[in-house]
């Protein structure tokens, strides 16, 4: 995400209805400072608002009050997998020897801007989360990984870290790292591999990073939004955290709304709200919708009438073959061609694999090519059957989940846009393929072998 698009996503946002579902100003938590002051929080703002770092609550081990609080709060990871954060904390705390904490701010998902927005508006909540998590798991090292392409963000974070060092806030220095910015470089084993001196490309697992990660030590890798929520739970406790959201999806979450919504951008919303209500945070649909892309390029297409009433929880979305991902929702207007949008994204995913495993080297490019023929050219029924077979063979056959994500993306497109598939098969491309695409798909070629370090 460039500084320009961050700026766009953080322009003045409409007030969130104060429906009592969340206790902060305007119902927000992570972004409450922004709503109050209208500017990014520096360390003085941050300490005035939240008080000092409650390090005493973050003792290591089984009796760690912080891990217990995170468990009771029901916090789940905001990087895409929605894994219970307390379980990961405990696994690393139980590991042998000094642990390592890695905060993941890579945000390689092109449709997401929430991590960059959070780091710009409330960097000290994230940095508090790193310090608290490090204490809770007994870490002697803490790393913050960002994309090398975001020099504005790097500059701001260096300044924030310097300010904390000057005022002796952190018990442990946080090392800021600039990694190559590729789609799969945000995957957790890619961070470990890079921090260990290798390429920012995924590794075969097991061992998982929590068992053997940076320097072969137990390593906690959490998304930066997850760590910011943790910093608030450490201060205000699990009961406060659960005042927002639903019992099975507590708290708030950052979402990036895009496509045909009146005010695209990053919003903070209660977890578990129906997708239609989340879109309403951005002013609602700007025109009639055909589908919603849930979870970004690593996500799923759902028909609009199915998506809008569905609660934004891992369980409700799983029942539809989708997941919350990193909180991306893109509203597709009826005038757009879902097949053309999908073909562009699949071409991006094919270019942006790590080029390590068979499915990403051969299967995914073949799927992208078939899909392009379906969307923009001609594909006969035999070609469609071949495409469906190839899509089915991507999942579960790579070292990381990149081919799985591409498979789900393609499969849900074929299902959601089934009527369009029939029309394209029999009549060729629809007129909408010539319109400007709704999804902004980055261009660029396959990274060279020397571009991963």
């Amino acid at each position: 995400m460039t500084a320009e698009s961050v700026h766009e996503s953080t322009r003045p946002m409409p007030a969130v209805p104060a429906d009592g579902s969340a206790p902060g100003p305007h119902g927000t938590r992570l972004l409450s400072g922004w709503f109050t002051t209208g500017r990014a929080a520096d360390l003085t703002d941050h300490l005035d608002r939240y008080g000092p770092l409650p390090l005493d609550r973050a003792r290591r081990g089984h009796a760690s009050p912080l891990i217990n609080a995170v468990e009771e709060a029901g916090l789940t990871g905001r990087g895409g997998a929605a894994f219970p954060t307390a379980r990961k904390l405990q696994a690393v705390a139980d590991g042998r020897g000094a642990a390592v904490v890695v905060a993941n701010a890579m945000e390689s998902e092109p449709a997401s801007a929430k991590d960059a927005t959070l780091l710009e508006l409330a960097p000290h909540l994230v940095l508090d989360g790193i310090a608290l998590a490090a204490r809770a798991v007994g870490a002697r090292e803490a790393h913050l990984c960002v994309a090398r392409t975001r020099q504005h963000q790097v500059h701001e974070l260096h300044a924030a870290l310097a300010e904390r060092e000057r005022r002796r806030v952190d018990p442990l220095p946080v090392r800021l790292h600039e990694l190559p910015h590729h789609y799969v470089s945000s995957e957790e084993s890619a961070l470990v591999r890079w921090l260990n001196g290798g390429d920012a490309r995924p590794l075969s697992t097991p061992p998982r990073p929590f068992e053997k990660g940076v320097g072969k030590r137990p390593t906690l890798i959490d998304n930066v939004e997850t760590l910011a929520h943790l910093a608030l739970i450490a201060r205000y406790g699990p009961a406060w955290y659960r005042e927002a959201g639903t019992p099975d999806a507590p708290g708030t979450t950052l979402v990036t709304l895009g496509g045909a919504v009146r005010h695209p951008g990053v919003y903070e919303a209660p977890m578990g709200a129906p997708i239609g209500r989340l879109l309403a945070h951005g002013g609602g649909p700007s025109e009639p919708l055909s589908a919603v892309l849930v979870g970004g390029f690593f996500g799923s297409w759902l028909p609009a009438e199915q998506a809008l009433p569905t609660p934004f929880t891992k369980q409700d979305l799983a029942a539809l073959g989708a997941g919350p991902g990193a909180g991306v929702l893109v509203a597709l207007p009826q005038r757009a061609c879902g097949l053309a949008e999908t073909a562009s994204v699949l071409a991006f995913l094919a270019r942006n694999g790590a080029q390590q495993c068979g499915p990403c080297r051969f299967g995914l490019p073949a799927v992208a090519e078939d899909f392009a023929a379906l969307a923009f050219g001609r594909l006969d029924p035999d070609g469609l059957r071949r495409l469906e077979r190839r899509v089915g063979l991507l999942a579960g056959r790579g070292a990381c989940r990149h081919p799985d994500g591409a498979s789900r993306f393609a499969a849900t497109a074929l299902r959601t846009f089934a009527a369009d598939v029939e029309r394209h098969l029999h009549h060729g491309p629809c007129p909408a393929v010539h319109h400007e695409p709704v999804l902004h798909v980055p261009t660029g070629s396959v990274p060279g072998p020397d571009e991963w370090r």
Binding site: S204, C357, G358, P359, R361, R397, A399
Partner: protein, 74 residues
């Protein structure tokens, strides 16, 4: 029961190391096949005792050591 379980073995494929030579599927077609580019599709990772010898041969035949046999995890 516990004894027989611990003797069960499972296949583990290193997808990054694999170069698609295809020897494994040749020697163990009961559990593995190849996609159209010659990369393995694992139909079942659990190796039944009667296939253990074939599985060992498939592992030994991989020129890049991408296939391993592990004791099945309970």
């Amino acid at each position: 029961m516990a004894l027989t379980r611990s003797n069960e073995q499972s296949l583990r494929l290193d997808r990054i190391a694999c170069e698609g030579h295809g020897a494994c599927a040749e020697l163990l077609p009961e559990l593995l096949s190849l996609d159209e580019w010659g990369f393995p599709i694992v139909h079942s990772a659990t190796v039944p005792p009667e296939l253990a010898a074939h599985a060992r041969r498939a592992v030994a035949a991989c020129p890049v050591l991408a296939l391993r046999l592990e004791r099945a995890r309970p």
